[in-house]
Each structure stands twice: as structure tokens, then as C-alpha cells.
């Protein structure tokens, strides 16, 4: 496995480090809006002078508490997020002025109704299609959220405020994308485990400019190291594309393990990967329309149909020279597990081995996952 840098901060450390900072921000009067999915146009929160606090939970701990209200066979991310809210043990939830959810998957959508009893949870109605009617409806939702922020905080958010936030977020997308695209280099210059951990950890940093500086510095450092020490030395380690559900809560037992077993994770088609970063917000259109357009195009499996995700995976297989596609599914995530059928077909059409792992936040299946990942790498190496 490619060495982690000495000052590497784990996800748990980054999350913890963010607590105090969030408290100080809050005390200084900064607005904080709790968010879950990447469909929320965070530009509007930024334009309101606020910061978006990521609330998608990755820990097994609060799940049993959540099961008092929620069914057992539900996605661990939804249960854990709700459990944190219910037990009031997540500082980011605690510091949020209100929560914004959206009608993505059924599990989240119905959970938001319950969460609203704990703290005000505003829900954006995301359409599942991508046509003109859906775009118009989604644009109205963007405007409605804009208005909600104005009413909630008693402020006015101008078109120019939003445009400014769009430019800032576009710059951030560019910086993050450049970092993620380091995976296109061969040999892989950075561990996929580090990439994912770093990007998730940065979500707890409320200062977008600072996030950009940190990632730009690391990108330069990695490129320099690669140029000096690795350029031209093609690696035989299998190159893996990660796709599927948000993987922060299962990263240790999947992504870290497959890299320890001898693979390089180079590409991420997931909401904490390139998926939200590839398309920027059009800076020439009116802000609400531009935001609606960009966010409707996110390739999450809640969209139907969702062929664009298959095209995207297919292109990524070429661009990142992928040897194997590993789909990570959280238990009871219906949209991803059904769509896995198409993802497998897409990978097979490219003659690339595919493995799907369905798991939750517990450690119960670590042994079985290990064997599967090992066998997957053996399967790939037959073709290499």
C-alpha cells in the first residue's frame, strides 16, 4: 500500500478537530445549516453567510438507539444519522440552526419526517427525472430554499451573493477534481484510502478557501513525489474503481483492506468522489437556473433512469485505466443494489471484473469481505 503521509489525519480525527472550530464559529455568530446529500445547493448556504455542516453519519454507535424508532433493515447511514440526532451526540447536528434534507431515497425522505420532531428539518423536493419539466420543478425548489434561508435568518440574499458563492464553489470543485484525478497517473501516486479520507475530513472545515489551499498543497506535493520517484515505473498492482453508496462508514474494511492486499484504489464514482465535482455550475446563467441544472445532473441511483452513471463509469474505466470495479453497497439501499445490475453489465462490457459488496457499519463480516476482496484481486491478476 502506498505510504500515508506522516501528518495523516484520520476521518475520526478530522471530525473531532472540527468540533471546537464549529463551536467557535457558532459563538462568533456564523450561521450553520446541517446537510446530508450532495444534492443540496450549498452555494445558497454560503451566500447566506453560513456554512454547511455534513451530517451523514459513519459510526455504528448510535444505530441501536435509532432502531427504537426506525426499522432494523434500513440503511446504516440513515439509522446512524438519525441515532446521533436522537441521542444528541453529534456536535454538528447540535450546532446546526436547521437541517436541510431532500427527497432522494425513500429511507432518507421518510427519516426526515421523524427528524423534524427533533430539530427543524426542511426538505427540498428533488424530482427523479431529468427533463425540462423536472428542471423547472427543481429550479422552483432551489428558489424556495433560497427564500427559506432569507426568511429563517431575516436576511436578503442577492443574485450577486449567490453568483459569488457559485464562483467560489466552482473553484473548489476544480481543486478537488484535480486532486481526485491524480488517480489517472500510472503508477498511482497516492493511496485511494488517503484521498477519500482527506476529502471527507475536509467537509468539517467550514472555510472553503482554506480547504482549497490544503488540497492544492497536497496535490502539488504528490505530483512532485511522483515526478521524482515514480514516473515511468508502471505498476503491476491492480487499479480499482470504487462505485456505489457513500463509503465513509465502511472505508476501513473495504478500501483500506483492498489496498493492503495489493491493489491501488484510483477512481471514485460516489458522492464523496468525482460524481458531484465533474460538472460545474454554469456561471453565465441566472443563478437559480444554473444551480438547478447542475444539481439535477448528479448521477445518484435515486435518479430514474440513470444511464448517465453507466456512461460515466464506462469513461472512467478508460481514463483511469481501471482493472476492476468494486461496488460498495450499504445494506438495504434499494436504488444502488438494483442499479448494481446495470453497473455489472457496464463493467463486463468493458471486460473488467466486477465485485459487489453489500455491508453495514458493523465488523461482523470483515472476514468474509477479506476473502472476497482477495479472491477478486486473484481474479483480476489472471487477466493482467
Amino acid at each position: 500500500m502506498i505510504q500515508l503521509p506522516e501528518n495523516f489525519e484520520t476521518y475520526a480525527e478530522a471530525r473531532k478537530a472540527g468540533f471546537l472550530r464549529m463551536k467557535q464559529l457558532k459563538e462568533s455568530g456564523r450561521k450553520v445549516v446541517g446537510i446530508f446529500c450532495s444534492f443540496v445547493p450549498t452555494e445558497l448556504i454560503e451566500a447566506a453567510g453560513g456554512t454547511a455542516a455534513p451530517l451523514c453519519a459513519t459510526s455504528e454507535e448510535p444505530i441501536s438507539a435509532a432502531e427504537a424508532d426506525l426499522p432494523k433493515n434500513l440503511c446504516p447511514l440513515i439509522k446512524a444519522s438519525y441515532g446521533f440526532a436522537l441521542t444528541d451526540t453529534c456536535p454538528y447536528f447540535y450546532f446546526s440552526d436547521f437541517i436541510v434534507g431532500e427527497t432522494t431515497c425513500d429511507g432518507k425522505k421518510k427519516m426526515f419526517e421523524l427528524m423534524d420532531n427533533i430539530k427543524e428539518t426542511y426538505v427540498m423536493q428533488l424530482p427523479a427525472r431529468r427533463d425540462e419539466a423536472a428542471l423547472d420543478a427543481w429550479e422552483k425548489e432551489v428558489v424556495r430554499f433560497w427564500k427559506k434561508l432569507e426568511d429563517f435568518y431575516g436576511i436578503t440574499i442577492t443574485e450577486e451573493d449567490v453568483k459569488k458563492a457559485i464562483r467560489l464553489k466552482n473553484r473548489e470543485r476544480e481543486v478537488m477534481l484535480r486532486f481526485l484525478e491524480l488517480g489517472k497517473l500510472n503508477p498511482a501516486p497516492i493511496s485511494g484510502y488517503e484521498m477519500g479520507t482527506r476529502l471527507d475530513g475536509l467537509g468539517f472545515n467550514p472555510d472553503i478557501e482554506e480547504r482549497c489551499r490544503i488540497i492544492e498543497a497536497r496535490t502539488e506535493e504528490v505530483i512532485k513525489d511522483w515526478e521524482e520517484n515514480y514516473r515511468g515505473k508502471l505498476s503491476k498492482r491492480p487499479r480499482i474503481l470504487i462505485t456505489g453508496c457513500p463509503n465513509s462508514g465502511i472505508r476501513e474494511k473495504t478500501i483500506k483492506v483492498i489496498e493492503e492486499l495489493g491493489a491501488d484504489v484510483v477512481a471514485f464514482d460516489c458522492c464523496n468522489g468525482t460524481r458531484e465535482k465533474v460538472e460545474k455550475v454554469d456561471e453565465t446563467l441566472p443563478a437559480a437556473r444554473a444551480l438547478a441544472k447542475k444539481y439535477l445532473n448528479i448521477n445518484c441511483s435515486v435518479m430514474s433512469p440513470n444511464e448517465t452513471r453507466m456512461d460515466y463509469i464506462s469513461n472512467m474505466i478508460d481514463e483511469y485505466q481501471v482493472d476492476g470495479v468494486l461496488e460498495l453497497i450499504l445494506c438495504a439501499c434499494h436504488t444502488y443494489s438494483i442499479e448494481a445490475y446495470n453497473v455489472k453489465k457496464t463493467a463486463m462490457a468493458k471486460n473488467v471484473p466486477y465485485l459487489m459488496i453489500e455491508t453495514d457499519y458493523s465488523k461482523a463480516d470483515s472476514g468474509q469481505i477479506n476473502t472476497r476482496l482477495e479472491a477478486f484481486l486473484e481474479t483480476i491478476s489472471q487477466f493482467k
Partner: protein, 254 residues
């Protein structure tokens, strides 16, 4: 040079030793017991008694206890080993391998001798050897006797896939005075149904199926699998050693 394959499964440990010309010099099976490390040591002493030296030969360990064989030169997963063992035993390169092991069932699709796709059951023990063992215990019969009893049974069905729930279903069938052979019929059919469902999920088609693992001697399971899959299912007593033979073959590449 001797090529030694050791397959430490959850229930049984299998050993196969091949020579340069791929002749089988030795094969044996023993219960894994509670410690894979002890089992590996027992196997080592047994091989030494037979004049086979694991230190000078090449050793590949596989199975869930593969990491507990300190004298192994390499570990390889069950998937690759069963695939290679099946190709060697069956002398064919295109087939679906079904390995029904103690704690997991594997479906492996082989094309031109290479693993094209594979699937394993999840944490759950439905459709595995353990399922059969638990039910046999509950019914106070030996697992192989349960298989033969099943052939004489009819009609009864167990609907629970979970071993724990299925066991209580079996207990209530016993309580209702259901005939033993009918319960056995239900148990073996439940395994075959679960395996067939896994196969259909993988689009295995109707090509030849090669059954490996501990249930290879259950003739009745082979028959009903053929019916449920609509494919010829081939197996034999030596198929229990497919993983160990595959491991021995893998040791040639070290």
C-alpha cells in the same frame, strides 16, 4: 519436488500432495477442530510421517484457516483454488463450480479455465454444509444419512432461510409427528433451492456444473440440483479435495 495444498475449512481440513507430473501422492481429510493452528501442526506431522516434507516442498494454504498455516509459502483464496482444482479434476475449462462448504457456498463461473465471476453467500449460513449439519443434529441422524433419507421423503417444505429459524421449523415438524424422511427431504431441498437462487442471480446458464466441497457425496443433492438448475451436475468423492488440489497446483507457480 512435492506440491502440497492444504485447505483448512470451517469443518474439515483437506490435504493434497502432487508430484512434478501432477500425480496425486497423498490426499486426506480430517476435522478442523477448534484450532486451525493445531490442525496445521497435526497435518505437518502427518505429512512428515508419510515422508513428505513441507519444509522442502512448496506449500499453499487455502480455506478460512489459511492464515493459520505458519509453514505455508503462500495463501490463496478458496475461489481460485476450487477453480483450479475443478479444472484439473474435470479436465474441462468452461463450467460453473458450486462449492458447498461448511460455512459458505461459492458459485464460480469459469471461462477458458479462468475465473470470470464468483459469488459467495453472505454472513448467513443458509445453503451451506453447516445448515445440513445443524438440522441433522436436531434430527439425531448423521449428515450423510440425512441425505439418503431425503431421497425417500416428499412434499414437506421449510420456508425459513435462516438456520436458526429453520431449526425451530424442523423442531415443530418433529413435534407434529412428521416423518423423518419428509423432514430430511425439506432440509436438502432447502439447500438446493438456496444454491439455485444464487446461481440464477449470476446468470450461470445451463452449461455443466461441477459440485465440489463436503456435500459432493450426497447423491440426492446432486440429483435435485440438476433438476432445479436444468444443467448436468457432475461430482464425485474426490471433489471434496478440489480446494486442496487447486492449492497444490497454485504452489507450482511460486
Amino acid at each position: 519436488m512435492e506440491y502440497i495444498g492444504i485447505d483448512i475449512g470451517s469443518t474439515c481440513a483437506k490435504v493434497a500432495v502432487l508430484d512434478e507430473d501432477e500425480n496425486i501422492l497423498h490426499q486426506s481429510v480430517q476435522p478442523t477442530g477448534w484450532s486451525s493452528v493445531d490442525t496445521a501442526e497435526i497435518i505437518k506431522n502427518m505429512l512428515l510421517e508419510k515422508g513428505i516434507c513441507p519444509e522442502t516442498g512448496k506449500v499453499v494454504a487455502t480455506g478460512y484457516g489459511r492464515v493459520s498455516v505458519p509453514y505455508a509459502d503462500k495463501t490463496v483464496t478458496e475461489i481460485t483454488c476450487h477453480a483450479r482444482g475443478a479444472v484439473w479434476l474435470h479436465k474441462k475449462k468452461d463450467m460453473t463450480v458450486i462449492d458447498i462448504g461448511g460455512q459458505d457456498t461459492k458459485i464460480i463461473i469459469l471461462e477458458n479455465g479462468m475465473v470470470k465471476d464468483f459469488a459467495m453467500n453472505d454472513k448467513c449460513s443458509a445453503g451451506t454444509g453447516r445448515f445440513l449439519e445443524v438440522m441433522a443434529n436436531t434430527m439425531a441422524v448423521r449428515p450423510d444419512a440425512l441425505c439418503e433419507l431425503a431421497r425417500k421423503g416428499k412434499k414437506v417444505k421449510i420456508s425459513s432461510m435462516c438456520t436458526v429459524f429453520a431449526e425451530s421449523e424442523v423442531i415443530s415438524l418433529i413435534g407434529q409427528g412428521e416423518k423423518k424422511e419428509n423432514i430430511a427431504f425439506a432440509v436438502v431441498n432447502s439447500i438446493a433451492d438456496k444454491v439455485a437462487a444464487q446461481c440464477s442471480k449470476m446468470n450461470v446458464g445451463t452449461g455443466e456444473v461441477f459440485l465440489t466441497g463436503g456435500l459432493c457425496e450426497c447423491g440426492y443433492l446432486q440429483e435435485i440440483l440438476e433438476q432445479k438448475l436444468g444443467s448436468p451436475v457432475l461430482t464425485g468423492p474426490e471433489c471434496r479435495y478440489a480446494g486442496a488440489i487447486g492449492a497444490a497446483l497454485c504452489s507450482r507457480n511460486i
